[in-house]
């Protein structure tokens, strides 16, 4: 069954495509924006911006470390560099450069990691960014966003350009269902409630928002009304929304396409513990890398399905 089918969501665009389109569209409005690429602009979609504004697009070759520090230099001259690569290569290859050339000096660099998670499919685990959120969230005073669909990704792209300081936006490769029809309320650090419910709260990001809505549809048939929060900002976490969900539903499940350590689950758990402790369960990639395969098959095999989220809810409610 296709993602979003259970909850009746139409299929939409890939978040990387939405990011690329938004960046191209915003280029005229934000003249200080430049792109710095590590020769994957046709995959990350920054190529669309660079083609529209050739004097503002820099391809430094297959050199992620250099790419990030060059962006730091551009930012220190008042530019707003958008640096995109595969999430795995951007965060893992250039982490020290992100720390020293961006986060520590608090420069206005916009990091974008595409091809995140196992849903990239056939290219396999070397290309799958599954630690990127943990790494990005470990950086001091850095905003970390994981968007769930095209419309929210466009909104996030604008929000990151307007934010003064380092940001990381995580995007995916495959097409994902439409979560937001029409205007998207998007404020950094403010979760969106995409389904009301009082029996349990499912806090999700990325494509797991659609999965969680599917799970909510399954659960509704069993008489369990699940609230679904699109926690598009992992850092700073929306503490108020988490506490409210804990208070009002009494149980929280966190769903993400990421390893367990340091991801959204860890962040929400520490928030729950500090605010309103309630039983929790987690749906994620655990502590192991995946493999090559078709995206739907991978999501099934590695437990990122509506049924897995529903089972976690039943467990935490039981």
């Amino acid at each position: 069954m296709a993602l979003g089918e259970l909850s009746g969501l139409p299929m939409g665009e890939a978040t990387r495509d939405a990011f690329g389109r938004a960046l191209e569209e915003l280029g005229a409005t934000y003249p200080n924006v430049v792109t710095v690429d590590g020769d994957v602009g046709n995959s990350t979609r920054t190529e669309w911006f660079a083609n529209a504004f050739p004097e503002r697009g820099f391809n430094v070759g297959i050199a992620e470390s250099n790419m990030v520090s060059v962006a730091g230099g551009l930012a220190s001259c008042g530019k707003t560099p958008v640096v995109a690569s595969f999430a795995a290569f951007l965060l893992c290859n250039a982490f020290d450069q992100i720390r020293m050339s961006v986060a520590f000096p608090r420069l206005n660099v916009k990091l974008v990691g595409t091809h995140a998670g196992i849903s990239i499919g056939e290219d396999g685990p070397s290309q799958m960014g599954v630690e990127d959120v943990a790494l990005a969230c470990s950086l001091a005073d850095t905003v970390v966003m994981v968007t769930s669909d095209g419309a929210s990704t466009r909104a996030a792209t604008k929000a990151m350009l307007e934010h003064d300081g380092p940001t990381y936006l995580r995007c995916g490769r495959p097409k994902v269902p439409v979560i937001y029809d029409g205007d998207v309320p998007f404020t950094i650090g403010k979760a969106n409630t995409v389904r009301e419910g009082g029996d349990v709260a499912i806090v999700a990001n990325g494509l797991m928002v659609a999965t969680s809505l599917d799970a909510a549809a399954l659960l509704a048939k069993e008489g369990i009304e699940a609230r679904v929060l699109d926690m598009h900002t992992a850092k700073p976490i929306d503490e108020e929304a988490v506490a409210k969900a804990a208070e009002e539903t009494g149980a929280i499940v966190v769903a993400e396409e990421h390893l367990a350590a340091g991801g959204l689950g860890a962040i929400v758990a520490s928030t729950v513990v500090r605010t309103k402790p309630v039983p929790m369960a987690f749906v994620n990639l655990g502590d192991s890398y995946a493999e090559s395969g078709d995206p739907d098959g991978l999501l099934e095999k590695y437990g990122l399905t509506a049924e897995a989220v529903a089972a976690a809810v039943r467990g935490v409610k039981g």
Partner: protein
């Protein structure tokens, strides 16, 4: 600077900066004086020889020249130059590495106006300089970016990525200086990881290169004059220097020609300063 100082005046300035670097690291009880001293001529020439157009009263003016000390551990020599140039009082140098002081163990742009890049993780300064050179050029400024790199630091592959990128974009407003003092933390660069001859390896990327005695003020000044005259490609000055230059007899007496990351004990610091002032 209205009138260009003489070589002798710049030499005296370099030795003054050396004295500051020795005093401040001895006071701090830690730091890298020998790594600082090798770069004294280059730093003095840039800050006092009319090459670095900066205004301590307006440290963020967009058209200023940029100086990046990629070998951030040598920052005592940079702090000494900044103090003498008027960024902060000379007496503040003695707060080096102390709690609350913006004169930190490695340069931190968030805390000290005039620092153009936070460094201390080796290998990143030239890439940051490439970004600044690109940004300045986009804005139509006729300024220049100077980056000082250590020879041991050349072991970082990122420096070579930056060399290739600067050549690709023909950054005629970028000058890099390798402070080739011959030593890194655990020994000579020849034995740890020899990447010389630098000029022969860097020129084919598309850089203008010069190799000079980096502890000769006359040669440093000539090389900087030649570098700033080049506007269609990045320029590299390979400055062959001595670690601890200016107080080599002291290092010999101590039996350590590297003396990496070690401040001089007060009695040795006094001897070193007396030698520099003689």
């Amino acid at each position: 600077m209205s009138e260009k100082p003489s070589i002798e005046e710049l030499e005296a300035k370099a030795d003054l900066l050396r004295c500051h670097a020795i005093r401040m690291t001895t006071e701090a009880g830690s730091g890298h004086p020998s790594s600082s001293l090798s770069a004294a001529e280059v730093t003095a020439a840039l800050y006092f020889g009319g090459y670095l157009n900066v205004d301590p009263a307006n440290p963020t003016m967009p058209e200023r020249d940029r100086f990046i000390l990629s070998k951030g551990h040598a920052c005592p020599i940079l702090y000494a130059a900044m103090a003498e140039r008027g960024y902060f009082p000379v007496e503040d140098l003695m707060t080096l590495r102390k709690l609350g002081s913006p004169i930190e163990g490695h340069p931190n742009l968030r805390r000290l106006p005039g620092i153009e890049a936070s460094t201390g993780s080796l290998g990143q300064g030239l890439s940051i300089g490439v970004g600044q050179a690109l940004g300045c050029r986009m804005d139509g400024h006729a300024n220049r970016v100077f980056v000082v790199i250590g020879d041991g630091e050349m072991g970082e592959g990122q420096v070579w990525e930056a060399i290739a990128t600067a050549a690709k974009y023909k950054l005629g407003n970028l000058t890099a200086i390798i402070d080739q003092n011959g030593y890194q933390q655990t020994g000579s660069t020849k034995t740890v990881l020899d990447q010389t001859p630098f000029a022969d390896r860097i020129a084919p990327f598309g850089w203008h290169t010069q190799t000079i005695n980096g502890n000769s003020m006359a040669e440093v000044v000539s090389a900087l004059d030649a570098a700033v005259a080049v506007t269609d490609q990045p320029t590299m000055i390979v400055a062959e220097t001595k670690k601890g230059a200016g107080i080599i007899p002291i290092l010999e007496e101590l039996g350590d020609s590297n003396l990496h990351g070690q401040p001089l004990k007060p009695e040795w610091a006094e001897k070193a300063i007396a030698l520099l002032q003689s």
